[in-house]
Symmetry: D2
Subunit: 446 residues, 4 copies
Amino acid sequence: MTYNIEMLPREKVFRDPIHNYIHVQHKVILDLINTKEFQRLRRVKQLGTSSFTFHGAEHSRFGHCIGVYEITRQICDNFQRNYSTKKPGDGLWDDNERIVALCAALLHDVGHGPYSHTFEHIFNTDHEMWTRKIITSPETEINQVLRQVSDDFPEKVASVISHTYPNPQVVQMISSQIDADRMDYLLRDAYFTGTKYGMFDLTRILRVMRPYKGGIAFDYDGMHAVEDYVLSRFQMYQQVYFHPVSRGMEVVLTKLLQRAKDLYEHNHMNGFEMPSLLIPFFEEKVIIDDYLLLDDGILNTYFTLWQSYPDEILKDLAYRFLSRKPFKSAKYDHKTKHLLPEIADIVESVGFQKRYYTDTNTSYDLPYDVYNPNSSKSKTQIEIMQADGSLIELSTISRLVNALTGKISGDERFYFPKSMLIKHADDIFSDEYDKFQQHIHNDKII
Amino acid sequence: MTYNIEMLPREKVFRDPIHNYIHVQHKVILDLINTKEFQRLRRVKQLGTSSFTFHGAEHSRFGHCIGVYEITRQICDNFQRNYSTKKPGDGLWDDNERIVALCAALLHDVGHGPYSHTFEHIFNTDHEMWTRKIITSPETEINQVLRQVSDDFPEKVASVISHTYPNPQVVQMISSQIDADRMDYLLRDAYFTGTKYGMFDLTRILRVMRPYKGGIAFDYDGMHAVEDYVLSRFQMYQQVYFHPVSRGMEVVLTKLLQRAKDLYEHNHMNGFEMPSLLIPFFEEKVIIDDYLLLDDGILNTYFTLWQSYPDEILKDLAYRFLSRKPFKSAKYDHKTKHLLPEIADIVESVGFQKRYYTDTNTSYDLPYDVYNPNSSKSKTQIEIMQADGSLIELSTISRLVNALTGKISGDERFYFPKSMLIKHADDIFSDEYDKFQQHIHNDKII
Amino acid sequence: MTYNIEMLPREKVFRDPIHNYIHVQHKVILDLINTKEFQRLRRVKQLGTSSFTFHGAEHSRFGHCIGVYEITRQICDNFQRNYSTKKPGDGLWDDNERIVALCAALLHDVGHGPYSHTFEHIFNTDHEMWTRKIITSPETEINQVLRQVSDDFPEKVASVISHTYPNPQVVQMISSQIDADRMDYLLRDAYFTGTKYGMFDLTRILRVMRPYKGGIAFDYDGMHAVEDYVLSRFQMYQQVYFHPVSRGMEVVLTKLLQRAKDLYEHNHMNGFEMPSLLIPFFEEKVIIDDYLLLDDGILNTYFTLWQSYPDEILKDLAYRFLSRKPFKSAKYDHKTKHLLPEIADIVESVGFQKRYYTDTNTSYDLPYDVYNPNSSKSKTQIEIMQADGSLIELSTISRLVNALTGKISGDERFYFPKSMLIKHADDIFSDEYDKFQQHIHNDKII
Amino acid sequence: MTYNIEMLPREKVFRDPIHNYIHVQHKVILDLINTKEFQRLRRVKQLGTSSFTFHGAEHSRFGHCIGVYEITRQICDNFQRNYSTKKPGDGLWDDNERIVALCAALLHDVGHGPYSHTFEHIFNTDHEMWTRKIITSPETEINQVLRQVSDDFPEKVASVISHTYPNPQVVQMISSQIDADRMDYLLRDAYFTGTKYGMFDLTRILRVMRPYKGGIAFDYDGMHAVEDYVLSRFQMYQQVYFHPVSRGMEVVLTKLLQRAKDLYEHNHMNGFEMPSLLIPFFEEKVIIDDYLLLDDGILNTYFTLWQSYPDEILKDLAYRFLSRKPFKSAKYDHKTKHLLPEIADIVESVGFQKRYYTDTNTSYDLPYDVYNPNSSKSKTQIEIMQADGSLIELSTISRLVNALTGKISGDERFYFPKSMLIKHADDIFSDEYDKFQQHIHNDKII
């Protein structure tokens, strides 16, 4: 099927620090960017609490989304120029797929709310489900724009994001172990944090990408560029995304939202300025309009107001979050995990309710894996195409990738207030502090 | 006078995309960064509405402030190493001034509120006054930290920012035509916008800076680096800070705040969720605690709520702001200025109240000027030191700087809703639209 | 006329630090690169003696030439995509011109010899003439490759370089005040020297370039990017190309070649290993085969051998050049020029023959000029295209460019051995040294 | 022992693309840079034949050597500031070691000749031996400068380079698995080739380096930066240093020098312009003065002359080298190695003498290894210092480094003329060509 897609009279560009310029050529793309739902992404930070560790990383999901669009556009250009289909079923690229790929790339994260991970955990919601709803619900501006392409177009776009779209090339472009999404965020997050770990050679990877029947493969020549991308991804997770201080702020946020929810459920917020935009979430009766009002600033505004609520815990946690007082942490493992209840009790004994002042936080990532037909969440492995057209899986030819394949990386940490680590010589609780501190050695629970 | 300043046991660093690392060596600096007033700067964007044009430019004032601190620290290091005073009055650097310089650098922007320029204009307030108040009022955490140095230290720091501190080297470091403040923001804004105009050779400028009795001069060898800085400054103003689209969003914001204020003053907000944190500003009775609660997110939160107020103008303007629908514009000059009332009337005639849907916006900058003893706002000119120690003013040896000296650059624009530019053939107001459009030619009012 | 140009089965790329990749798509381009005459450019430094000042700037003319090709290719791509001719005479781009443009871009500097400027001055030769000869002489591999396109193709390519090709778009691409040649060398030389002055926004300039009947113009939107390019060019000349130390090495080289020529002419080289490859130049009877053997290494090899010749002056100058002992200098002007003979006499009086140990060196550049119909060397001015298609010359809308327009920048320096500046207290010539030193003050002759 | 080292009145800087500025503060360093032996390094390329693959990589050993000096200087500054020795034997840094470290860093490569690896192989010489000789022989300018520090200073500097200097901190700074030498060349070669694989976070590594009794360790915090360096090193070897095309040029060079040597030994060069500067090498009777005359340009000059010698093989190989006609290659392994004599015979059968037109070339690197007390060439392993001061070897905590530890990486290739791969249908030798081509499949010998 060929859509009759309207082109802009003149290409429009957005200046972008990662891709230099983002080129918009289709009217539907420009219209999508101009919807209120898409513009909301300007008010949701890409990295949540990471900006408390890397102060440059204040960039929003808006830039990332148009970045993913741009990489997808470049892939399509390359595929069309060099691997254009000659006849159905030849495994080459059908450029009629371009517009669905571009729209899915642009919209893949449109359902993200503020501090997604934490917020979803407390309020039992899910950004992927919201992404699909925003695309397919007739009340959104996004849906209305998409329907101008065709009535079934919103569903098609949503199905790419759900991985049920029939063309595997389109699906893998947007979502696979090496896709436009990850390539953009690694480069973008590296740029804004000011670290260098996320750098890899995007231009070269785009040059060696090629469609085949089963999806997307990479020329043998470019193996090292792909390897370098896998390493970059691994390093960004270890160095940036899993940073213990950012997670210390995430724990503060979790506890703060938990306390607010608890208070609301026990009607202890009455008599104060109510967090009206959060009430649907407290009550877990959220409609799409409620969801689309949320952004980082709204949460922060309620935190600001809560600093003058009479509840000491809410007040304290709100202050800790807004004034960046992260919880401290120590690593634990399966051998020391059993000590945590006892240690949490010590924290409680000096006056911190353990429900709100202690927590565990685990950060795990599977940097790369091969396809496993028996797994329910099986990954599309990275295929390298040899000179004679045969495919070979990446980890079989890269010693470094092989070292990461199928192995989860990360750590488990126990979080608590910083004051637990301070000497309290003349304090009534000085024994408890000492006891606590004897459990922490070399950043580990002992 | 020598302060007894406590050093940190180990230098602490912040990863920064501009300076790579920011080095904190004194406890007082770390304590200041950790105050709630300083942390608030994370929630105030550095460039206000510019991020609507350059989506990468979402960085906050927090990073800029510690960047200015870092440049100042590097200047002090250089001065101490190479130009340390031998005896009073020799015009060289007294490193006892370091701590006051560092604190002033760090805190120089601490009084900025959300969308400073626009907000101050509507609510008749002033961030410089607030900066001084935050530093000198005993209720702030910042003041409490500063007083640990000495009782009169807050006043000293404030006086650097007010330009009344006796040592001109310290004052010029923080505030002059080539100071740590401007050098940081040009580089930082260039980085985050993704433009290249703001780049100049900071390392070289720092190398050629040197103290003398009257303040700070630059070695002759480095003249071209200083020249390049002046050009970068000029280009950033023309290309980034004065961008007509950002100003189109600024006009929307101005009108939105104006409408809210008007409604409040006429008691038309009753019955709705009141913007409690703004009320002191509506009533122009603001105390420091009110001021310090404000940030970008709080304004945006009220804008979100106002989208469901029953006032059509407030609602529409809030939507335009949150969904990025900038007003369009055309240039005017002294010859066409007289046409503006008539054109505004046309806008009103098709249904847009001109008080809220038209405005003028002027952006002017004086890129560089020589010292003028007769001017009330006289500038400290940039002095170049020759081999024999004599000084020579920059514009006398740089043809390019000379071309900019004393000459204001910028433009004046008339703003209006985008729909005024669209053909309305079958519209009841089609004649008015035509009339309007005949007044606009080649981006100018005619 | 449409050439039947053979494309490569697969695009070939060269990794390039400036353009990331250089894309070769036509067989004729790859064949030209593989000729021995083109490969010789690897052995000729782009910046001659500048690498004695900026040690990173050791790059050869090879990289620059393929860089100019790449920029030209990108311009053609842009012109073809956006401004393709519809009918003859419409002033738009005819893509049949691409191949002649690409070849001329690639070959425009193929006639450069070692240390071009200096060498040509002493041996009375001219790299532009050699470029044309190499392209049009049947004995070169380059000519043989070009003739595969068509018999008259070498002449066409040469005529682009000579500015006599009929299509002004092609000529201006390669040679005008803002052409592929200059854009490449500014960026490349900035990169390799490690300075930042030569940086400008190439991507943006390429976006706003457009063909018109009279040649190439730039969209009004891109005015500031073009302005920035003009400033970069000015700054690179002032800061890099005119650096007094590089010129001090150039003077040593000039004197060394002069001495060798003098000795040869007086038969004083007999009995030693003769510089066989230079003899045609000493005798000013050079054929193309002689010329194409020359490169930097050959000159340096003879300098190495000359260090063991019995002539003291030749030996000394060869040592100075190979061991980087630049002559020192001071500025003079029309008021002090009359002193130079007298000062040169002082240099001679302490034992340095003035013919070989003193010189003047002037570095002048006209950064930008408007078209002057009365001038024999008139420049093609930079035209900015307004919204309605009318053209406006750059300096009329840029205050900075205006400040440079038509004004020559540079300086005149007198060069002499460094020892002239050293105190020689107990020396028999101490009075002469003192006299000399009294003539130099603040880097100027007085 | 404390040297009385003269400081420069004012620090001198060299503009460097990698380190921005290189800071020279001691007179002895500046004097060493100004010697003729050090200046010779400007005429020896850092990467030999790699510039035939990466045309940007034309940088010389000069820049690398002062880069290693600069990194060493920064390490010393850090050690002095943060880890200055309090009493003998405390394992901290004694800044009296600075000058020997700086000189060894600067001079560690001073014995490199043109195309070192290849040249040494044919002429049976060794750049490390020459480095020591240049430092310790009284006839060099370098030795004379070093002796101004003290009579035994040249020997001390040489002993650092030979790893026999008693202080392991100084030795490891210059030579270990993570030293100033490697850190500079990875960054520098990445910059000039235009690849990104060699990038790592030098600033961070320098921050976490610290002296201890046994040498140099790295803070636990910086483990990932060190890991990233090891990966960069691995990737640069795989991607840049082992590039098959560069090695194809290296083989041409080897064969060319071999042929010249063979001809000289058989007196077949008589009657032509003799390569006078190479004769000592042909005869393997080289004194230091002979060695120091050599540079890249001298070899190239003889190659130019050899193109007109009557020997067809010498002529052809010289043309191939100067005009960049690399031999082609295919991988072999222990299973196919036995086929090589047969395949070489085929090459000979079509007219290429196998002594000069076939070769094997192996590129192997051991990216990282732990200390092995039983090995004669044991490596100093990389030690990570934990919070409590205990050391832990890098590969035990890095999965990626572990994957590389002790494992050699590289490949073995068979080289031959490109024409062997071309179809020769109507050729008398068409059968031989076919036979040859059947042995090559997917870049491998079969």
